[in-house]
Amino acid sequence: MTERMLLLGNEAMAHGLVEAGCSVVASYPGTPASEILSGVAQWQARYRLPMHVEWAVNEKVALEIAYAASQAGLRAATAMKQVGLNVASDPFMSAAYLGVKGGFLVISADDPGPHSSQTEQDSRLMAMSAKVPVLDPDSPEQALELVKTGFELSEAFQVPVMLRPTTRVCHANQDILPGPVAPSERKALFEKNPARWAATPNFRHRLHLELEEKLARIAAWEPTAPRLFNPAATAPRAIVAAGVAAAHAREVLRDLGLQDTLPLWQVVQPYPLHSGFITDILEKYDDILVLEETAGIMELQLADRYRVKGKCSGFVPVVGELSSEKIAGIIAAFAGIPAEEPPVPPAGGGRRPTLCPGCPHRASFYAIKRAAPKGIYPSDIGCYTLGTNLGGVDTVLCMGAAVSQAAGFYQAYRLGGEVPDIVATIGDSTFFHAGIPPLIDAVVQDARFVLVILDNATTAMTGNQPTPALGWGAGGVPTATVDMEGIVKACGVKFCKTGRPGDLPAFTSLVKEAVAFARTEGLAVVIARQPCVVDRTFKGERPPRRKVGISNDCNSCRYCVDQFECPALVYDEERKRVVIDTLICTDCGVCIDVCPRMAIEEVGQ
């Protein structure tokens, strides 16, 4: 590999993993982290590396698989988004005490904004809570370097290391010259040591002491020490920045002409912050500005915050992404120079995302609303969250919560005597990820509701990664499969039927049948099975195409546009009637059964 390449941050980190001789990588997809594992699979194939690379069923499983490889002496990594780390926090916290053998990297990608997440939480705070050192890259290139540094740090101190990129690192592209790749020579060798690997609370006390000692030494480790960007600058005040905020700050200093006067320290290891650095800057500077996303982690570690301006002090906004124009305003205020007026925000209404034309979820939600018009509709994390536009989604909490929330609503209403219809929706990947334990719970507690598993044979929102039911894994390699119906039945569900939502009349009848069953008998599961329209990895047979047209029976009632909300159904203001946008219509033909006047009809090809 000798030529410069334009790499996505996630692909760059993936290259760092193979450069570092990482042998096992496991992940669950989630924006903005999804392309890390697919990147690893891509490099693994290109360099023909002996590695185990897998899409795990969820983040907890992914972390545990990678951690065990580290316990056996191999270099290993796991990648996830920040809310995925919540799911994996149990093994993460425990592994910090036990330590590692082979280098172990936990990549947790944050999403300040948030752009595509439930929260703006800061994974570095999780690292602090777990007492795990964390590295904070400012660019794809630095992220690649810090992957390698992270493994060195991990092995030097036998501790898990977190790499925390943000959306602007993961989904930025940069021209990079990647380093050489060589296959790892290591073989797995697990050395038994129950006092460490199976530590009971007594031993844990000692391990905690060891961890504190490690952290104290890590806070003086030279390779991750803060770097002064502009050594010539000698003002009595200074900026301390980490991550993308540091990249923005470098540019803002140049634009404001402060490059030669205002010192900018870049921190790549925000926790533990180097202890010598803390003492030095508090002695040296009268005034310190801390720029970081999204919480004040570095700021919290500055013992004397009397002269420190940051998130905790209220000088830097705590909500939202730190854009470069925000940072420009903050640095100008800190340096006491006039700031430019912020530009006027764009006018006009927004353009909200919507389910794709031909998406099978649209038909599912339409059927659910027909079958249980006054129902409560708990839902989950995935493309189908966009069912809110159709009025088919009432709650979205976190992965798998649709099932437990449906059970919770049932139990809460049952206390009052009258239970409404409850129809929950969950995607296939999300069902495997976190939907099975709550399904068992609902069966055991006799919670009566309908669960519709929206099985589009992919993890769609994050870019069409496989699910455990498909028979292929990362990089397209063959895997074994599990049977969704079999799992549902094994959980004790008595009603489990499968239908194709695109066959709207039959599917609506099926959901009605399930609703009737739930009213009188118990929990009912409907599997809505139809492939995702944008999934290019789908190899099976697609439903028949039905090209549609609008007949003269259209009386412009707008029912289809308002109730079915397909982007290909367009109301033409001039002609006062609905027309089909043939450029985006997928010929799914579902709208034929939506029009109350039967004015949408199948036409010849």
Binding site: T31, S116, R250, P343
Partner: protein
């Protein structure tokens, strides 16, 4: 090579192929020997929401995002999104936009109307505005789906990058079977 960083914004609706177009641009800048950074948001917005891609090149680029009010060139895939993004530009910036309206859900649902005077408004604010019949020229090149490449050609004319860098980038990023049509579409755009 001067210190200036050139800021390009690509805006449109999720699913229009903005990510690929920004990759081709970045590839061409890399071919020309520049430091390149590019940034956009993946995930939910790709399902028909507003999409903005930032591409920056120069001798040394630190930040991957174009600060508001600093854009040099706006590459619009859709008229309303082009108009919506004007505050990202500096005065005197160039705007190249496809003559295409995609109605957002609020318009489809009759809650709002799609304004019809946007090209005039854009031209009044940014005299260096070029409205391109992307679909029409793409059809002329052989495939209506090559509209983005027509636009890319028109944008390329406003950038000081050698012909061969563009050709190399297209050859690298466009599937072989679509290359001929795309090269033709690119030249049609470049002649505007």
């Amino acid at each position: 090579m001067s210190d200036t960083v050139t800021n390009i914004l690509l805006v449109g609706v999720g699913g229009q192929g903005i990510l690929l177009a920004s990759e081709i641009l970045s590839e061409a800048f890399m071919q020309a020997g520049f430091d390149v950074k590019k940034s956009e948001i993946h995930g939910m917005s790709q399902r028909g929401g507003s999409v903005v891609s930032h591409v920056r090149y120069g001798k040394e680029v630190h930040s991957p995002i174009v600060p508001e009010g600093e854009g040099d060139i706006l590459f619009g895939f859709e008229i309303m999104e082009t108009y919506r993004s004007l505050p990202l530009l500096k005065n005197g910036a160039s705007v190249v936009a496809n003559d295409l309206c995609i109605q957002p859900p609020s318009v489809l649902l009759g809650q709002e109307t799609y304004p019809t005077d946007l090209p005039e408004k854009i031209a009044a604010l940014f005299p260096k505005f070029l409205l391109v019949d992307g679909q029409g020229l793409a059809a002329e090149a052989g495939n209506v789906r090559a509209a983005n490449t027509v636009l890319l050609g028109a944008v390329s004319k406003r950038l000081d990058i050698a012909d061969e860098c563009w050709i190399k980038a297209l050859e690298k990023m466009v599937p072989r079977k679509a290359l001929e049509v795309n090269l033709k579409a690119f030249q049609l755009g470049r002649s505007l």
